[in-house]
C-alpha cells in the first residue's frame, strides 16, 4: 500500500513567527522514519495522517482510500482511517487494566473473541501475566508494549509511532526496537516512526525523511540520507560533522582535487565539476581512519592523509569521538576534523598517550553537495 501525503498546515503563534508545515511525501511498505529536531513538523505530519490534526490544504491518500482532500472537501475522521497510533508518553488509559486497555479498540466483538485477541497480543508483546495490572503498576517499557498491543490488536493498515522510545532507558529501548523490527516483519504494513534521534533513525529506517522547520529537506534510503546528504543542513542533522567549503583546483580522469582554507583533498570526479568552482563537501566521522604507523594503505586510503594532533576526545560507549587538529599554520579553529574510532582501535593504538597521529579521509566516502 502506498501512502501519499501532500499537505500544508499553518500554525499561528501570538508572539513567535508563524510556523508553516509543507510536507510532500510518498510512503510505501517498510519502515519510514520522519527525522528532525523537535518542532520541525514531523509529529504534525503524523497527526495529519491519523486525522488528529486537519491540514489547511492538500491531500492524503492511503492506497485507494482518500483520507483528506481539501479540493474535494474530504476529511475522513480518525475513527475510520484504520491507523494504529503510539504516543511518546505511553498514553494508556489509567483507569483501565492492561487487558482492558488492549481490548479498548475492539468494539464489535463478543466477549470471547475479545479475550482471544487480547491474549494473542499479550503473548506477542511479552506481557505475560500483567493483564490485570493497572498502567501505573508496570514499567515504562511494559507500558509502551501495551500501547503497541492496543494499536496492533485493531488490525490497523498503517502503524504510526510518535517518538515511541524517547521516554525509555537505553536497555529497554534496545529491546523494544527489536520488538518493533519483529512486528515489521510479521505485519507487513507501512510503519511511520517519528524521532529526533539519528541513531534510532539509522537503526530502524528503510526510508528517511529529514525535516527542518516545517519542510522536508530530503527523502531517501537511509544510506542516501546519511552518506549522501543533499545539503549542509541534512548533513548536520544526520551527524556528518565534517563539512567543508573548497575550490576545485585540479581535474583528472577520475578524481578532482579540492582545496579548502586548511588542506586539499582528492575526491571522485563528478560530471558537473569545473575548474575553479566552489563546492561544499562532507565526510562522516566513521569514514576518517587513524593510520597505524608503518602500515601500507590501500589506494582508497592513501591519498588524503594528514598529520596532526588529537586535541580532545569524548567516549560514547563502543566508539571514541576525537577532535583532530591538522598540522597547518592556520589556527582558526580549535579542531579541524571529528574522527570516530572504535574503542578497540583506540586502545590498540594507545591514542590516550599518542596524541600525534595520521588520519586518512577515505576518498570514496567524501560526498559533495550538488
Amino acid at each position: 500500500m502506498k501512502i501519499l501525503i501532500d499537505v500544508v498546515k499553518k500554525f499561528k503563534n501570538r508572539n513567535k513567527s508563524n510556523f508553516v508545515l509543507k510536507a510532500s511525501l510518498e510512503i510505501s511498505e517498510g519502515l519510514t522514519v520522519l527525522f528532525g529536531h523537535s518542532g520541525s513538523g514531523k509529529s504534525v505530519t503524523l497527526q495529519c495522517i491519523a486525522g488528529l490534526i486537519k491540514p489547511d490544504s492538500g491531500r492524503i491518500t492511503a492506497g485507494e482510500r482518500i483520507f483528506f482532500d481539501s479540493l474535494k472537501k474530504i476529511n475522513l475522521p480518525p475513527q475510520s482511517r484504520r491507523t494504529g497510533y503510539v504516543f511518546q508518553e505511553y498514553t494508556l488509559f489509567p483507569h483501565l487494566t492492561v487487558a482492558e486497555n488492549i481490548a479498548f479498540g475492539l468494539n464489535n466483538l463478543s466477549k470471547k473473541d475479545k479475550s482471544v485477541k487480547v491474549d494473542e497480543m499479550i503473548k506477542l508483546m511479552r506481557l505475560g501475566d500483567l493483564g490485570d495490572n493497572y498502567p501505573h503498576q508496570i514499567s515504562g517499557g511494559q507500558q509502551q508494549r501495551v500501547a503497541l498491543a492496543r494499536a496492533l490488536v485493531t488490525n490497523p493498515e498503517i502503524l504510526l509511532l510518535d517518538e515511541p522510545f524517547s521516554a525509555l532507558d537505553i536497555p529497554v529501548r534496545e529491546k523494544l526496537i527489536m520488538d518493533l523490527l519483529k512486528i515489521k516483519d510479521e505485519f507487513m504494513f507501512p510503519i511511520i516512526l517519528v524521532t529526533h534521534n539519528s541513531e534510532e533513525a539509522y537503526q530502524l529506517a528503510d526510508k528517511v525523511a529529514v525535516y527542518d522547520n516545517g519542510e522536508i529537506l530530503q527523502v531517501g534510503t537511509k544510506d542516501e540520507v546519511f552518506y549522501r546528504p543533499k545539503n549542509r543542513s541534512v548533513a548536520r542533522f544526520t551527524g556528518t560533522k565534517n563539512i567543508f567549503k573548497g575550490r576545485i583546483v585540479r581535474l583528472e580522469n577520475s578524481e578532482a582535487e579540492v582545496r579548502t582554507d586548511l588542506f586539499s583533498v582528492k575526491m571522485p570526479l563528478k560530471q558537473w565539476f569545473d575548474l575553479g568552482k566552489e563546492v561544499e563537501f562532507c565526510i562522516r566521522p566513521e569514514n576518517i581512519m587513524i593510520v597505524k604507523p608503518g602500515k601500507d594503505l590501500s589506494d582508497n586510503l592513501k591519498e588524503n592523509v594528514f598529520e596532526g594532533e588529537i586535541v580532545n576526545e569524548s567516549c560514547r560507549g563502543a566508539a571514541y569521538y576525537l577532535e583532530f587538529k591538522i598540522e597547518t599554520k592556520e589556527k582558526k579553529f580549535n579542531y579541524d576534523l571529528i574522527v570516530q574510532v572504535p574503542a578497540h582501535v583506540y586502545q590498540k593504538l594507545d591514542l590516550k598517550n599518542n596524541r600525534f597521529a595520521k588520519v586518512s579521509l577515505k576518498k570514496d566516502a567524501i560526498h559533495v553537495f550538488e
Partner: protein, 230 residues
C-alpha cells in the same frame, strides 16, 4: 432536647429540596457548558465564560433583581408560564430553585471545566484512532477521568445553593411555609428574637457547609486513585 420540638423544620426541608433540584439542573446545564468551554474554540467563548461566571462577583440582590424583571408577572416569561401552567413563577419555591441554580452554576462550571481540561488530550486522541465515537470517548475516557473534579463541583454547587439568601429573597420572597428557606428563616428568627431557631439552623447550615468543603477539597486534591476501579 425539648426545644427541638418547638422548631419549625419547614425551612430545612425546603432548602434541601430547592438545593437538590437546583444542583441537578446545574449539573446538567453546567456540565454541558463546561464541556463546550473545555473542548471547543468559537467566537465569543470569552464572553460566554465571563457571563456564566458573573454570578460569583455580582451581588445576589442584583441577580435576584434581574430574575425578577425577567420572569415577573408582567414579563414575557412570567406571562408564558402563567398561560401554560396557570401559576406564577415569582414568589414560589420554583423561583427559589431558579435563583439557586443561577448562583451555584459558576462553581460547578469552574470545577468541572478544570477537571475536563486536565484529562490528557492524547488519551482522547488515542481513543479516536482506536475507532471510538466521540460520545463513547466522553463516557469511557473523559468522564471517568474527570469525575472527581465534577463531583467536587457538584458539592460546592449544592452548598452554595443551600446557602443563598439575596437572590432567593428577591424572587421567591419570604413567605413562611411556602418560600422561606433556611438562610431567610435564620434572618427572620434573629429579627423576631427567636434565638433557639436561629442557633439550631445556623449550626445545621454550618455543619453541612464544613462537611461539603472537607469532602470537596479532598476530592479535588487527591491524586487519581486506581484502587477504586477494582
Amino acid at each position: 432536647m425539648n426545644f427541638l420540638k418547638e422548631i419549625d423544620w419547614f425551612p430545612f426541608w425546603l432548602s434541601l429540596k430547592v438545593a437538590g433540584i437546583a444542583t441537578v439542573i446545574s449539573l446538567i446545564c453546567g456540565l454541558t457548558i463546561s464541556y463546550v468551554l473545555a473542548k471547543y474554540d468559537f467566537w465569543g467563548k470569552d464572553w460566554l465564560d465571563a457571563i456564566v461566571t458573573l454570578p460569583i462577583v455580582l451581588p445576589p440582590t442584583v441577580l435576584g433583581y434581574y430574575l425578577l424583571v425577567l420572569m415577573g408577572r408582567k414579563s414575557f416569561i412570567g406571562l408564558m408560564v402563567k398561560r401554560i401552567f396557570g401559576t406564577d413563577l415569582v414568589f414560589t419555591w420554583r423561583a427559589a430553585v431558579i435563583a439557586a441554580c443561577l448562583v451555584s452554576i459558576p462553581l460547578l462550571i469552574k470545577s468541572s471545566r478544570a477537571a475536563i481540561e486536565n484529562v490528557d488530550v492524547n488519551l482522547e486522541k488515542a481513543a479516536r484512532t482506536l475507532g471510538l465515537s466521540e460520545t463513547k470517548i466522553l463516557f469511557k475516557v473523559t468522564l471517568p477521568l474527570a469525575w472527581r473534579g465534577i463531583l467536587a463541583g457538584v458539592l460546592l454547587a449544592f452548598g452554595r445553593a443551600l446557602g443563598d439568601f439575596g437572590a432567593t429573597l428577591m424572587v421567591a420572597g419570604n413567605i413562611p411555609g411556602k418560600t422561606q428557606t433556611m438562610p431567610i428563616a435564620i434572618y427572620d428568627a434573629v429579627q423576631s428574637g427567636n434565638y433557639v431557631m436561629a442557633n439550631v439552623l445556623t449550626i445545621l447550615v454550618s455543619l453541612v457547609a464544613v462537611l461539603i468543603m472537607v469532602v470537596g477539597t479532598k476530592l479535588s486534591k487527591a491524586k487519581f486513585s486506581y484502587q477504586e476501579f477494582k
